[in-house]
């Protein structure tokens, strides 16, 4: 089970009713977690966040710089712009902000979800999310 397909299903099932906000939490002891977070945000700058996100999960743990550039090419991104972004760590400050937020909230497990403030830790089946979202929509 991976969280990605479940999140997609949630967005499809609740179109217009839920908003997804993603925060980065690159694992500190993984060699390429930080640069992979940079890569996903560099792809977002070119409108291909989800495409890159899915590739990163599918190709993990091969997430070294050279591999990331190959993936960017596969997605048809502007390679010069992408490479400059990951090399200069363009999004480092934003990623650090996300990490600080997680530490302040005492969050250490990925993925962790918040639905209107209700915490769900770990990969869960769609039914778990459905129950919480339905309750929250009802309480609106």
């Amino acid at each position: 089970m991976a969280a990605g397909p479940t999140v997609k299903k949630i967005l499809e099932s609740y179109q217009g009713k839920v908003r997804l906000v993603i925060k980065n939490f690159p694992y500190k002891y993984r060699d390429y977690a930080q640069i992979a977070a940079e890569a996903s945000l560099a792809a977002r700058d070119q409108g291909k966040y989800w495409e890159m996100h899915e590739l990163l999960i599918r190709r993990s743990p091969r997430l070294d710089r050279e591999s990331l550039i190959v993936y960017a090419r596969e997605l048809g991104l502007d390679i010069a712009q992408f490479t400059e972004s990951i090399d200069k760590k363009k999004h480092a400050a934003a990623i650090e902000r996300d990490k600080d937020l997680a530490a302040k909230m005492d969050l250490f497990n990925t993925p962790t979800f918040f639905i209107n403030g209700r915490k769900i830790v770990g990969e869960r089946p769609f039914s778990t999310f459905k129950q919480v979202i339905d309750e929250e929509l009802k309480n609106k």
Partner: protein, 353 residues
């Protein structure tokens, strides 16, 4: 002569078990068994609670005992296969710690005989908290509040044995409170709803549940191979394969590299009858502790009841089909969900130093 012998044997049984519980009997919680070597004190319990929630006990500082035994999920993590150390996967379901004080064997395969033994396993385990015990002792010794608390509680410095003792003391306080079944057993005639009372009759008669689920914690503390279906993730996730092979290797299972299923208790005893056998779990708080079975293969109580109703998994020799009607299944589920759920309390989280 005969009667004297009888008295001695009876007394021995009473002392040994604390409270007589025999197959088929349901017993309310009266007292909690506490080992002589680790008496409960309020300070020790509080220290254990702090350690239970302390992420210092994991190698990378992301996991504490409470990660997989979360008060919000009746001290499970609510997942089919338990949470794990980052980059790894666990292979079994996280069992509840509520009423764990009554268990004679810990873990699904019963590899630990006391809570004090049990507590250090997940700390060391590569796919759980992944902490070196020599190292964690030094880490805890750097925290002045802990040094002071260990001195007060144990009259000595922090070490792994004392950490395990404190955590165990805390775990022995996790009990079901005032379940409808308990009130019923103590004579409250209104404790069970009509449906739950009918469910209790199924539980003790046609459903045969009580053959294995009896006594204070509704478990005989034995191991059975019910041939529960495999969790498909065991076949598809290479991280689970690594965990399975690692555990089998540690337990000197010769063909650990080609092992494709969970051998259960066999890994511990190497006894053929224990192949794929797992411990009878407690049923108290069952409504809050899903998914069910050692690998979390059943998401709901309905699925569990259906499994037992059809006589368990293919090829098992323990269970026979029960032929429960839909109504009987409903009564049984009502009993399990209503009568075995204690009063919920607001859990007070500790302030970890």
């Amino acid at each position: 002569m005969f009667s004297k012998f009888f008295v001695i044997v009876s007394l021995f049984i009473l002392i040994w078990t604390g409270f007589p519980a025999f197959a088929g009997t349901l017993v309310p919680i009266t007292s909690v068994p506490v080992p002589e070597q680790n008496p409960q004190t309020p300070e020790k319990i509080e220290l254990g609670k702090k350690l239970f929630f302390d992420r210092r006990l994991s190698g990378d500082g992301t996991m504490s005992c409470s990660t997989c035994h979360d008060p919000d999920h009746a001290f499970t993590d609510g997942l089919d296969i338990s949470l794990s150390y980052p980059t790894t996967r666990n292979w079994r379901n996280s069992p509840t710690l509520v009423n764990v004080a009554f268990q004679k064997f810990l873990f699904h395969d019963g590899r630990a005989l006391t809570l004090e033994d049990q507590a250090l396993f997940p700390m060391m385990s590569s796919f759980e908290m992944n902490r070196n015990l020599d190292f964690v002792e030094e880490v805890i010794r750097t925290v002045p509040e802990y040094v002071e608390a260990f001195q007060k509680v144990f009259n000595g410095e922090p070490n792994r044995e004392r950490m395990a003792m404190a955590i165990s003391a805390f775990e022995r306080t996790l009990l079901s409170r005032n379940t409808p079944l308990e009130r019923h057993l103590k004579g409250d005639k209104k404790a069970l709803s009509d449906e739950a009372r009918k469910g209790l009759a199924i539980f003790t008669q046609k459903g045969k549940c009580v053959d294995c689920h009896f006594g204070v914690s509704l478990s005989d503390d034995k191991f059975y191979a019910l041939n529960v279906p495999e969790n498909p993730e065991h076949q598809t996730d290479p991280r689970i394969a690594a965990t399975r092979r690692f555990v089998a290797k540690v337990y000197h299972f010769e063909e650990y590299r080609t092992l494709t299923e969970d051998p259960g208790r066999y890994l511990i005893t190497k006894d053929k009858k224990d192949w794929k056998a797992f411990r009878t779990p407690t049923l108290l708080e069952i409504a809050k502790t899903g998914p069910y079975m050692h690998n979390g293969i059943f998401a709901t109580l309905d699925e569990v009841i259906d499994f037992f109703d059809r006589g368990g998994g293919r090829g098992n020799t323990i269970l026979k089909p029960l032929k429960l009607t839909d109504k009987e299944k409903r009564y049984l589920k009502t009993f399990l969900a209503e009568a075995l759920s204690g009063e919920s309390e607001i859990f007070e989280y500790p302030k970890v130093p």
